[in-house]
Subunit: 350 residues, 2 copies
């Protein structure tokens, strides 16, 4: 990127070897200001953040405003296909995207554990900067707190996204009707499996890769092509959690065809080996879309025209069957009720 791009990254300086976060980095005095200027601002620099005010003053936004917030507490911090920094940026951008918004700005709040290597912090902040820069969305303001050893696990990030509602877009579970069709934008469960394999050292070769990606352009493509009733990014709890939420919100039944679920060969193999249902597993670069039946082809084509949606598929439909439930039609054609797991299969997935 050229130097006059407000999002261009300042040249990073490696943190001194062995340097760590101290409680005093969170005291608001000189050491806090140095951390902000010499590490955070250096990576994230842009004209809004540079003023280091208590808040960022931004140009007027035309149209309805959309705001989202997400804490990222994923463990491990770095995993095949991504890291907590990318995840924090993508989760905010994706929440804006599936709300029908064009993302404009992000904020970043950091909670750091005393003793965190500065090099780790720098690596994460650099990743935040790269992900934000790739989407051309500046981090306009931030906050840094430090807690004592044992009061956090290295670091947690909270990103808030601010966007502008795309004109004419109206999304919501209330728009869903029996007969509507359910699509997903690509292979499921890759993020959750990547985290599981990395955390538990499962030793798959090659290791499953997270799908973390910003879906705002994919969604823009979809929304400009056809009318959409509902969008959601199937993160924690996977597609299953989205469908159960829709059953609760609409009182309708969601039927999924197992044979139509897009899955990579790797994911299919790992899920079979470990006895996991990919419907319950988290994604970080996918969308679930619900459209009217007569919009199915246009929606599918719009998704498939974008690199992130090449393997988009129709996975099911909405019916008025009673009692309302999430049902899965197996490869053999049998219908079974999909229950949500009640335990905790995989904490700190995002």
């Amino acid at each position: 990127m050229s130097d006059d791009n407000p999002l261009s990254l300042a040249c990073p300086v490696p943190a001194p070897a062995g340097a760590q976060i101290l409680l005093a980095h969170g005291e608001g005095a000189g050491l806090t200001r140095r951390l902000i200027r010499e590490l955070l601002l250096r990576e994230l620099d842009n004209p809004y953040l540079r003023l280091l005010g208590d808040g960022a003053v931004l140009p007027p936004v035309e149209g309805a405003l959309v705001v989202t917030t997400d804490s990222s507490v994923v463990s491990p911090l770095f995993f095949p296909g991504g890291d907590i920094g990318k995840l924090a940026v993508h989760s905010a951008i994706n929440d804006l995207a599936v709300s029908g918004a064009e993302p404009l700005y992000l904020t970043l709040a950091l909670i750091l554990e005393e003793g965190l290597p500065l090099a780790t912090l720098q690596r994460v902040v650099k990743s935040v900067a790269e992900a934000a820069c790739a989407c051309r969305i500046p981090i306009v303001t931030g906050d840094t707190k430090v807690v004592a050893r044992g009061q956090a696990d290295q670091l947690y990030l909270t990103t808030t996204g601010v966007g502008r509602l795309r004109p004419g877009v109206e999304l919501g579970a209330r728009r869903i009707q029996p007969g509507d069709v359910i699509l997903v934008s690509g292979p499921l469960a890759d993020h959750g499996l990547a985290i599981l394999a990395a955390r538990e050292n499962l030793g798959f070769e090659p290791p499953p890769q997270s799908d973390t990606a910003p879906v705002h352009e994919l969604v823009a493509e979809l929304l400009t092509t056809t009318e959409v009733h509902f969008l959601r990014d199937p993160t924690r709890g996977g597609v299953s959690a989205v469908l159960h939420e829709l059953v609760e919100a609409t009182g309708f039944t969601m039927i999924v065809d197992e044979a139509n679920l897009p899955l990579s060969d790797c994911t299919r193999g790992v899920c079979e080996l470990l006895g996991l249902d990919p419907l319950h597993i988290a994604n970080e670069g996918k969308v679930v879309a619900v459209v009217a039946a007569n919009a199915t082809d246009r929606a599918l084509q719009a998704l498939q025209a974008h690199p992130l949606g090449r393997h988009a598929a129709v996975i099911g439909r909405v019916t008025g069957d009673r009692p309302p439930a999430v049902l899965v039609r197996s490869n053999l054609g049998q219908l079974r009720r999909l229950e949500e797991p009640r335990g905790s299969p995989l904490p700190r997935i995002c």
Copy 2:
């Protein structure tokens, strides 16, 4: 409040005795949805949050947008004069206020430690709701994550504030000139001493009380009365951190008259006893204002006309003296350089 007020609080239901946060409350499936509906939404309900979308869709905002973000990690969670919930709301509102904005909306992200009593969570969320309701600012969207025991200290909150820049207001260190006058809106150091006394069981009777309060109306009063060059809420690092930041940003010298610092009798006594300088200690309901000398009387009167500014005072002035520094004129008239503490006098103050 009447039932048709969008911010009216739904009737709270006590959490079952002994119930705790489980890792599964953070999994995104059924237990997450129950926690959100039965505890969070019940306390924080308003038309935006109620839709439980991935983001909140808000009416258009006229004029420049102002956005702030703050994590609250204060320990203990509850202290004389306030708690983490009030602090999280006030810190976002105050950051908007001193940025020259009218606060409009808040978001709330929670990081919860496994094992946190639901009753504690409910008490905190109720306090968030009360503080937000008192300011008539809705919490429009949120996020809830759970980390394992020992990976957080009970709970951390991150609030993001969205506001509208007040027309004609332009604030910033760049506007400060030699000859300008420095004011504070009231007695200093009360929040920091309240936390210190509560955490260390210092046994003062009555215990020091936090000053946590929303300053947006006080600031509105000030900004409509006179032109202001710079505003900041002196939280972590106290007034000292604000003045040191101004020295760095402007290259000017800040001279403070010790005799003019507004201090409660309690604070004066505790600071003398413990050998603490109130200039370094955090506040949560105060503002530092810098105005042109000819605006001093109007600024002081505007502040003093508001209940939160009754004890406002002129505490110093800006000079071109070299080298730039923060100087304190003692009660005996001697000038000394005010250095910032380099250690960590009091972590997790906010």
